[in-house]
Symmetry: C2
Subunit: 408 residues, 2 copies
């Protein structure tokens, strides 16, 4: 059961002018499942992306990086079922064949297509099934296809993930709509499994490239389910330029600020949805670290807590076995950390200070604060001004069940 | 159910001349449980140790470091139930009080006592119960007390852990006997939760200090259950000097080699026993990495695989979802890893090469090799001559159950 996560409705995902989506059942790995999505972008669209840092990055990630470098992207093609990762040269050929099939259908170049795959690693991608399914996707293309696409990119997700906003700066109105997928193998390092966000605002390529990184750092790069950075993580931001505004070229402008706020809000919703739907999740946990010497060390502390199986199982049990959090802080790799300066709160309860349990802490306070489905963990490292944030979930029986059964 | 791990018998743990052990039920945290162990060392014994790198290291670890620096250790005192970690200044006072109580009983100085604790973090240690229990430990001291001590230091262990060897160099015969405890919060960084090994061989302090590090790197520093480095990890090596040999002072000598081999063998058995009894473990997995540029990167790859919840759950399910291992290798932090040079075997089956699935690999081979309770994973990184080894276990429902229930 996802944690406080409602599925999007078709009406909640506003169309973005210049973007059309179509899905089909291509039988990539299993039958009777929507598993292929085509997203067509109007001429003049700009696209930016961030990708996994995993060295065994998937073939489609390698092709995306190449094609993005040459610019003028006009289509995205996404399959589930097979990740096309750990597939060597044949995997690259399959990803390129998928791009070529899209290009032929749309009358564009293969280099104008970005391919994405998600699913099982080290199994060959049947590119011929993608080619065979694409005409149905093409026939289904529509501006209000976001809802169906949100479903067609799911794997172990239990709920489709979409978010959308209509927003305005002083100068113009615009729309931001996005979808994401992912529930396990989630510790994005530059973006989640798959996240696609589009806006109709016009923005220069230079600023779009900057914006996608800024947004990723405040959204997808703050979430972790199990610490496993996927081979396929991709976060793509599209700006179709059809909102009618003067192209945004200045990061200091109010237009840029308004767009950044709206895109960040949508991306955060999508990123948090992945944690709320984390495999087996019963709790949503925000870890807010302050007082660090650097943002990196704050994030390291956040991830050390978020990745500790002992902390995660204690959250699952609602057990205020909070010394495990101190243990995780001590393991975050800060060699010169003075633990006597560290403070730990759960919600509004001060749990630890001066290297030990706070004098005011009572076990019943801990029990009370561990009970809810959403928990805030705050840490002050007491050594600087930097902050960092991580969102995660607990570790339950069902995480094991889902991952022991995934392929069967 | 531990994986191929038999409990020690009383007869299998040979006494070490100069070492006596006694245990009692001190009621540290729960009643009717042997939870306090005293180990008395004959005058002239030498002691060396390695300890956790966790910054929230326990009070007893801090006291051990101080007391070892001054030398002439004559006793060890070990309690279970409470870890005395995350306990601040009162925790240090409790650890020192325990040493003082031992010192009074044995007529030695408090600085000649090493304290060890294991159990729940961030709860106060009742030093008065240790003091009250010590006379019973003292009365029970005996040379063949290893078997009872192995039981008295257990927490979530399901089986007591002990190993013993009688060995000889060309010059003399000697004994090595040890005990360990630990099942979760296991990713030792300088030693496991608790490991105590003693020999009657005579060896200089300088060489003993070197030997304990060499042995730890080949034993306790190769194991991981859940990646959580404990606050209390301690590995202690005692040399009572009563074997009658000329003191070993040369690392090039055959005596040193014989002693190192025997101590390493015992320590490896104790370290592997911790993994075999890992919380919820159903599989014992050896990850052997070769062809690395450095030993550190080989270990990093080993640990990335051993800590991946996705890999661990696949082992639990005996599911040859082996792409997850490639994903973990790609996450090991080797920025310039050329994945096309990486080879992966399970047992004798080549699974992956050239960045993808090996042409000779068949799914039924993978299924066959994932079935047994002991599995060898071999990786050749194809970029150097260094090697590294990690031992781990799978991640099962029972790991979650044990850690969600631990305090209740």
């Amino acid at each position: 059961m996802p944690v406080n996560l409602n599925p999007p409705t078709p009406e909640s995902l506003h169309p973005v002018a210049g973007v059309r989506l179509g899905v089909t059942e291509a039988g990539i790995r299993k039958a009777n499942r929507r598993d292929l999505t085509l997203i067509e972008l109007a001429p003049g669209s700009r696209v930016a992306g961030v990708f996994t840092q995993n060295r065994f990055c998937a073939a489609p990630v390698q092709v995306c990086r190449q094609h993005l470098a040459s610019g003028d992207i006009r289509a995205l093609v996404i399959n589930t079922g097979i990740a096309n990762a750990g597939t060597g040269a044949p995997g690259l050929a399959a990803a390129n064949a998928s791009c070529a099939a899209v290009a032929e259908l749309l009358g564009i170049e293969a280099a104008q297509v970005l391919p994405f795959s998600t699913g099982v690693i080290m199994e060959p991608l049947p590119a011929e099934r993608i080619a065979a399914g694409l005409p149905a996707c093409h026939a289904a293309l529509k501006a209000d296809g976001w809802f169906e696409a949100a479903h067609a990119i799911m794997t172990t997700d239990t709920i489709a993930k979409g978010a959308s906003r209509r927003a305005a700066s002083a100068d113009f109105s615009f729309t931001v709509t996005g979808i994401s997928k992912g529930a396990g193998m989630i510790k994005p390092n530059m973006a989640t499994m798959l996240g696609f966000v589009a806006t109709d605002a016009a923005i220069s390529q230079v600023l779009l490239d900057q914006l996608v990184k800024e947004v990723a750092d405040e959204s997808f790069n703050c979430v972790t389910v199990d610490g496993d950075t996927s081979t396929n993580d991709s976060f793509i931001l599209v700006a179709s330029g059809q909102a009618g505004n003067t192209e945004i070229t200045d990061t200091g402008s109010s237009d840029y600020a308004a767009l950044r706020d709206a895109v960040t809000t949508v991306a955060r919703q999508l990123a948090q949805a992945i944690v709320r739907d984390g495999e087996g999740a019963t709790k949503f946990i925000e870890i807010a670290v302050s007082g660090g010497a650097t943002k990196d060390e704050c994030k390291a502390v956040g991830y050390a807590i978020a990745h500790s199986p002992l902390v995660k199982t204690a959250f699952f049990a609602s057990d205020p076995n909070l010394g495990r959090i101190l243990g995780a802080i001590g393991n975050a790799g800060i060699a010169d950390l003075d633990v006597t300066g560290v403070k730990l709160w759960l919600g509004d309860v001060l749990v630890s200070e001066n290297g030990g349990r706070a004098a005011t802490y009572k076990e019943e306070d801990g029990a009370r604060i561990m009970e809810p489905a959403e928990i805030l963990v705050r840490i002050d490292l007491g050594r600087g001004q930097a902050t960092g944030k991580v969102w995660t979930c607990d570790l339950s029986y069902d995480y094991v069940k889902i991952n022991a059964d995934y392929r069967s």
